[in-house]
């Protein structure tokens, strides 16, 4: 049987599984039942698996060869109250598969079923990675720390994407998603009475000066052809109109598509914050928590993926 026909056979299986997962969404690192169901399905198919971390499931289809390709699907849902009125609406209060991960699990289980049937025709092995906590940007890291990528020669992930029409698939080489880092800055100044500013060091002026000046990091210090964004989403300082507070708290994010740029922007943000604070005789505590690196598609893998998509689209 052609692989394409084999896949078509899985359609109902995948659809029903997706709806089941949709009805019972679980939050990041708490995917207990989801994990259990995945294991049940793998057992039914006859695929071996291990845990690696509490809720992850890593399956292995042994074929005839040395190479191993990994296929990854994320498992977690979000703290969102579902407002659709479908019959498979979430049965869990305030939790919803609002990002499509239910689909990813179902898709990978469907693919696993099909691949297992033709495992003797495979020129290598397939590792199935069912990964928790993607939304927290923590799940992948934990699995990698447990050597999930050992002896893996390539990896493919898929995201269902509501901003692309159904029937289209996008796989391109190069940068596809940005890196994301979380920035926390506290300016430590000196509070006092609003009518005697000379006795204080004003954190609102410092924070504002930082916001204005840091615009230059992207407008002046970066190659215009290298996309990046730096947003401070939250700024809080002060409690009374006539009192100068002693600190200002800022939280933000910066994104880019290039590791080098990422390092340079990180350094620049820290430098601007510290030096601006110093120019006002204050101090800045800067904490940049690294999130994900940019998702950059390998050229060779992208070509393979594009060919695969062409072969199997109907």
């Amino acid at each position: 049987m052609k692989y394409k026909d084999l896949l078509e056979k899985q359609y109902d299986y995948i659809l029903n599984l997706r709806r089941e997962f949709h009805m019972y969404p679980e939050l990041s690192f708490k995917e207990y039942n989801t994990s259990k169901r995945i294991k049940e399905e793998l057992e039914k198919i006859g695929i071996e698996y291990i845990n690696l971390t509490e809720t992850s499931v890593v399956g292995f289809i042994k074929g005839k060869g040395e190479k191993t390709v990994a296929l990854r699907a994320d498992m977690d849902a979000l703290s969102i109250k579902e407002e659709t009125n479908v019959k498979y609406k979430s049965k869990v209060e305030n939790v919803m598969h609002a990002c499509g991960h239910d689909g990813h699990i179902a898709m990978l289980l469907g693919a696993s079923k099909a691949l297992y049937e033709i495992k003797d025709q495979l020129n290598g092995n397939v590792k199935l990675i069912f990964q928790p906590a993607e939304e927290l940007v923590k799940g992948a890291k934990k699995l990698i720390e447990k050597n999930v990528l050992e002896a893996v020669d390539g990896i493919l992930g898929i995201h269902l994407w509501n901003d692309i029409p159904s029937g289209k698939i996008n796989i391109e080489k190069g940068a596809r998603m940005a890196s994301g880092d979380y920035v926390k800055i506290d300016f430590l100044a000196k509070g006092g009475h609003g009518s005697m500013p000379h006795q204080t060091i004003d954190p609102i002026v410092i924070a504002s000066s930082f916001i204005m000046n840091s615009q230059a990091i992207l407008s002046r210090e970066k190659d215009p052809l290298d996309p990046a964004v730096f947003t401070i989403g939250k700024l809080t300082s002060g409690t009374r109109f006539n009192v100068i507070s002693d600190s200002a708290h800022l939280e933000g994010t910066f994104r880019c598509f290039n590791e080098d740029t990422r390092k340079r922007i990180s350094k620049a943000i820290t430098k601007y914050a510290k030096e601006i604070a110093e120019s006002f005789k204050a101090k800045a505590n800067v904490n940049i928590y690294k999130g994900t690196p940019a998702t950059i598609n390998d050229e060779k893998c992208s070509l393979i993926a594009r060919e695969s998509a062409k072969k199997n689209c109907w």
Binding site: G194, S195, V205, S209, G233, K234, G252
Partner: protein, 388 residues
């Protein structure tokens, strides 16, 4: 020794006991029910004509021997929402409230001055109007008293503040600006929220708010004469809720101070202009509210002279002091718009007797000798004004 000085000394214990009683039972601004009740009681004991005004204020009148002018004497009576941390016998018994600014002293001093003036009322012609005013700390009391007729037929007004930043024994009642105006502004910036990674789809309120703060720094540095001391401070800047969500709105609050009505009257327009134009630059919108809390307290020359001479009589030339005007505000200023006036700082700092803490501090306390001077000064000023 003047009659006033003699009587002030005689009533010293009375003044201190009164002050401590008020100190023990502080009441919040505009809620001085028991305080005003006590004031009326004391005045009635002295057989001084008095009445409750503006809910928690008191106005009393002492008539002299014949027709003449009317001088008003004003004391504020409200306390603050501060938890007292002094361990004194007269510590506040009202949880969370404290006379942390000396108003208990003002009330006690004015009541003593009433006693003194009542004793010697055939030594002056005209009348003395006593204004016990609520809500100074919220800048509402003076206005309310004025609406209720406090300044009717008044030819001059005198007020006192017991002042912990001036040595006990010193009094400053200099001519010219003594305390600043205070304005309060609030700014609501309306941008357009969105995802932090797609700034071009929205209008970043954190950025706009920051630009406003930076631009407002130039008001004092560039638009007001260097010879006109002024302040513009932004005390609150809150915007946004999540690190990766671009803020759609920002809220700022601040204050203005100056010593001159001309400058004072320009603040609102300047702030609105800068805020609105800055917002326009970034395609944002703003709502600006501006409130005049108090105007500058400026002593009239001749009233100041009467005050300084009164101080000389009571404590000698050494007591007449200079004290740099302060950027703090007083709603006493509202009485002074059309009425000759003077406001005195009566020093109460004495680190040999009392640990120094600034006004509004939970450990604020005064050298009670200042009460003696205050009661004498209220009375002496009244007599000297009426006899001029």
């Amino acid at each position: 020794m003047t009659k006033v000085k003699e009587l002030a000394n005689k009533y010293k214990d009375y003044t201190i006991a009164l002050r401590r009683d008020f100190h023990m039972y502080p009441e919040a601004s505009m809620k001085e029910y028991k305080t005003s009740g006590k004031i009326l009681k004391e005045l009635n004991k002295m057989n001084i004509e008095c009445e409750k005004v503006a809910d928690t204020g008191v106005i009393a009148t002492i008539k002299g021997k014949g027709d003449g002018k009317t001088i008003a004497l004003r004391a504020d009576i409200d306390a603050l929402e501060v938890k007292e941390e002094n361990n004194v016998s007269y510590k506040s018994r009202n949880e969370g409230l404290m006379h942390a600014c000396g108003h208990d002293g003002h009330t006690a001093s004015l009541l003593t001055a009433a006693k003194i003036l009542n004793d010697i009322k055939d030594e002056f012609s005209g009348s003395v109007k006593l204004i016990f005013q609520p809500g100074e700390e919220v800048a509402l009391g003076a206005k309310k008293m004025i609406t209720n007729g406090a300044l009717e037929d008044v030819d001059g007004i005198f007020g006192i503040h017991i002042w912990n930043d001036l040595e006990a024994g010193k009094v400053s009642v200099e001519k010219g600006p003594r305390m600043a105006s205070a304005g309060k502004f609030s700014i609501n910036v309306e941008g357009k929220g969105g995802h932090g990674s797609m700034p071009h789809q929205g209008v970043d309120a954190v950025l706009v708010g920051s630009a406003i703060v930076m631009n407002l720094q130039s008001v004092v540095s560039r638009e007001i004469s260097p010879l006109d001391p002024s302040v513009l401070s932004v005390g609150i800047f809150n915007s946004g809720s999540r690190f990766n969500v671009m803020a759609g709105s920002a809220y700022l609050e601040g204050t203005t101070r100056c010593f001159n009505m001309e400058v004072n009257d320009r603040f609102e327009d300047i702030i609105k202009r800068i805020v609105n134009k800055t917002c326009e630059t970034y395609k944002a919108k703003a709502k600006v509210k501006y409130e005049q809390l108090v105007i500058p307290t400026i002593n009239d020359d001749f009233m100041s002279e009467i005050g300084e001479n009164a101080v000389k009589k009571l404590k000698g030339l050494d007591a007449v002091s200079t004290y740099e005007k302060t950027t703090g505000g007083e709603d006493f200023s509202f009485y002074t718009v059309n009425t000759p006036s003077a406001f005195a700082f009566v020093g109460s700092k004495n680190e040999k007797k009392v640990d120094y803490y600034p006004h509004h501090h939970s450990k604020f306390d005064i050298d009670e000798e200042a009460l003696l001077i205050s009661s004498g000064l209220y009375a002496q000023f009244a007599i000297d004004f009426l006899n001029k």
